[in-house]
């Protein structure tokens, strides 16, 4: 049996992108305790921005612009819709419906514009060169870039939240808004920042996602319920859980699916079912997912085991 290198590589690639997308979702959930069903649109906007700008500037810069545009959109989502609604009615259910509606509006608007300008299905200008090709292991630039970009973002975000004053304020506002505001933290501003960061992550992810598959008005929405599973694995609140979830989903969709296809003959058309089933299983058995497991403790345990 051929060792499934391409499947593994694909799993890692998708895992890195899924964890980026899901991380933004987790961030906004932590802030308002409601899932943002319009998060997919931040990705779509990132994908389109990068695809369009990649025709004028280098793909790297196009991705940065995408990050900026999505970040801005994320902030606006909160400032114009979610924030005011949260303060006015506060019911989580209403916010869920509102974000779904917002996503619907954005998705339809993007489709409308894409239809007019004939860009319903485009690809960014990205030259995907093969860097390494040994024994069936094929690694190309997209893989390297996605992995590097996602980890760079994750690590810098993590350091920002843990080490900087602003980051600590953001965490405080997310963990306990009442206490934070008593301590003088402007929770509204912190929430807006969370949404801006979430948008930034989505923008980068969207840019690479567009390079991977095509860019259509629905890319983000189609991916939403998939990377949602990653967030759910993280209990919707845990950073590390979400990242782990992203890779779990990446592997489930690719390596595991290929395995099931070969061994049990399950049609690959059922690929999207994997993340859906994972969501159902996690929610029914352990809704808190991997949240609550202290990754710091796990890390130190692993370090401790190395001594043996």
């Amino acid at each position: 049996m051929v060792f499934p290198f391409d499947s593994i590589i694909r799993s890692i690639l998708l895992g890195s992108l899924y964890s980026l997308m899901a991380l933004g979702l987790t961030m906004t959930y932590k802030t308002g305790r409601f899932p943002n069903f319009a998060h997919g649109e931040l990705i779509t906007i990132g994908a389109y921005t990068s695809a369009i700008f990649s025709r004028y500037v280098d793909f790297t810069y196009a991705s940065l612009i995408a990050a900026l545009v999505s970040a801005l959109t994320g902030g606006l989502m909160y400032i114009l819709v979610c924030g005011p609604l949260l303060k006015r009615v506060g019911k989580i259910l209403f916010l869920m419906v509102a974000t779904f509606s917002l996503g619907l509006v954005l998705r339809s608007l993007i489709a409308l514009l894409a239809d007019i300008y004939g860009v319903m299905n485009i690809k960014p200008l990205f030259v995907n060169r093969i860097i390494i090709s040994i024994n069936g292991i094929v690694i190309n630039t997209l893989f390297i870039w996605s992995l590097l970009a996602s980890w760079a973002l994750v690590v810098s975000l993590h350091l920002f939240l843990i080490k900087t004053k602003l980051g600590k304020k953001m965490r405080a506002a997310a963990n306990n808004p009442t206490l934070a505001s008593i301590m003088g933290i402007n929770t509204d501003r912190m929430a807006t920042l969370s949404w801006i960061f979430a948008g930034m992550l989505a923008g980068v992810a969207g840019s690479f996602w567009g390079a991977l598959s095509n860019v259509t008005p629905y890319v983000g929405w189609l991916a939403l319920l998939t990377f949602f599973a990653a967030s759910v694995i993280g209990g919707l609140t845990s950073f590390f859980g979400t990242i782990a979830g992203g890779y779990i989903i990446g592997f489930a969709e690719n390596l595991l699916m290929d395995f099931l296809n070969i061994s049990l003959g399950i049609d690959t058309a059922f690929k999207p079912l994997m993340p859906f089933m994972i969501i159902v299983v996690v929610l029914l058995l352990r809704p808190s997912g991997l949240a609550g497991i202290s990754f710091q403790k796990a890390l130190s345990m692993i370090r401790g085991m190395k001594r043996w």
Binding site: S101, S108, I279
Partner: protein, 336 residues
């Protein structure tokens, strides 16, 4: 020359379908507080059941061995429904009943595990359930032809030629009225009060003796039945069902109608359904007159999405507010 009769008939039918789906959601969400984000799935079950049952039944009666998706079978169905009025109507009625029962069973089955979850998780899992159903049916050819769908589902009035739509619209509006009357009688009673109590404070209702979990399961089952009915009626109207038609946007339609019209108020829901039907039909009509440089459906959803956000912010109680349950006890109050 505009086909006035056709326009009115299709408007009535669409209003009926919207109403049925939304009344079913109102029962779940408006009265009992169950956030069903997967409403479309239960409608889909009804549509699939009616479509598949009708197609397989006719093939069986005629003795055909061809696949129900083949052009041959399509021809058979068209001919059959034109010539054999009574069997077609009987199949229509039987399949609708089957649709109600089977979608009700789905509702019951889903309620068992799902109702244990708290609100936002419940909404999410129902949404996912809808997508799982769509995916499985999409890839399971024998039911409704996967991505190709099942065509030529014979309307019980096919024999009437040009009177199909008007006659069918009478049926749909009667069914809608009957369901509305039934729900009004059901909910203006201690049962309606009970649902609201569970919605307002489930723990308090349990402490006051109510078996809230069992009741919620009942509600989901009944509401799913009604949704299945709407799905079945839709199948015969459009004469074509395909899995990919039943997407979360349809659930959104129902939510918009319920919130716009007024949750826990069936009259409000009908009003909301009327508004949305008019909006829908207007855009369709407009697209026939004016040449838009884009697909009109996009505009439709932009408008509907914005309406939803605006209502949620300014008037979440909807156009017509919720009123106390109307039982004979109200008379006692009046005399005090």
């Amino acid at each position: 020359m505009v086909d006035i009769v056709g326009l009115i008939s299709s408007t009535v039918i669409i209003f009926s379908l919207y109403s049925l789906l939304s009344l079913s959601l109102n029962l779940e969400y408006g009265y009992t507080g169950l956030p069903n984000f997967g409403k479309v799935a239960f409608q889909a079950v009804g549509a699939f059941v009616c479509g598949a049952f009708t197609a397989y039944a006719i093939s069986f009666i005629v003795g055909s061995t061809a696949s129900i998706f083949s052009p041959e079978s399509v021809q058979i169905r068209i001919e059959f429904s034109k010539m054999n009025i009574l069997p077609t109507v009987t199949i229509f009625i039987v399949s609708l009943i089957a649709a109600c029962i089977i979608s009700g069973l789905f509702g019951y089955a889903v309620s068992k595990p799902a109702l244990k979850l708290r609100e936002d998780y419940l909404a999410l899992i129902l949404l996912i359930f809808g997508e799982i159903l769509r995916l499985i049916v999409r890839n399971y050819y024998p039911l409704v032809g996967g991505t190709h769908g099942l065509a030529a589902i014979p309307n019980p009035f096919s024999w009437s030629g040009e009177f199909v739509l008007p006659l069918y619209s009478v049926i749909t509006i009667i069914v809608t009225l009957l369901v509305f009357i039934f729900l009004q009688r059901l909910l203006n009673s201690p049962y309606g009060r009970l649902l609201k109590a569970i919605r307002d404070n489930e723990l308090a209702s349990q402490v006051l003796g109510k078996e809230s979990v069992r009741i919620k399961g009942q509600v989901l089952t009944l509401a799913s039945s009604i949704a299945g009915l709407s799905g079945g009626l839709y199948a015969f109207y459009s004469s074509y069902v395909v899995a990919d038609d039943f997407i979360p946007q349809k659930t959104f339609d129902a939510w918009l109608i319920v919130i716009l019209g007024g949750a826990a108020n069936n009259k409000g829901v009908l009003t909301g359904a009327l508004v949305i039907t008019i909006l829908d039909r207007s855009i369709q009509y407009l697209s026939g007159l004016v040449r838009f440089p884009f697909e009109v459906n996009y505009l439709r959803y932009i408008i509907m999405g914005l309406i939803m956000i605006i209502i949620l912010y300014y008037k979440p109680s909807g156009m017509i507010k919720e009123k106390p349950v109307k039982t004979p006890a109200v008379q006692v109050l009046k005399h005090e």
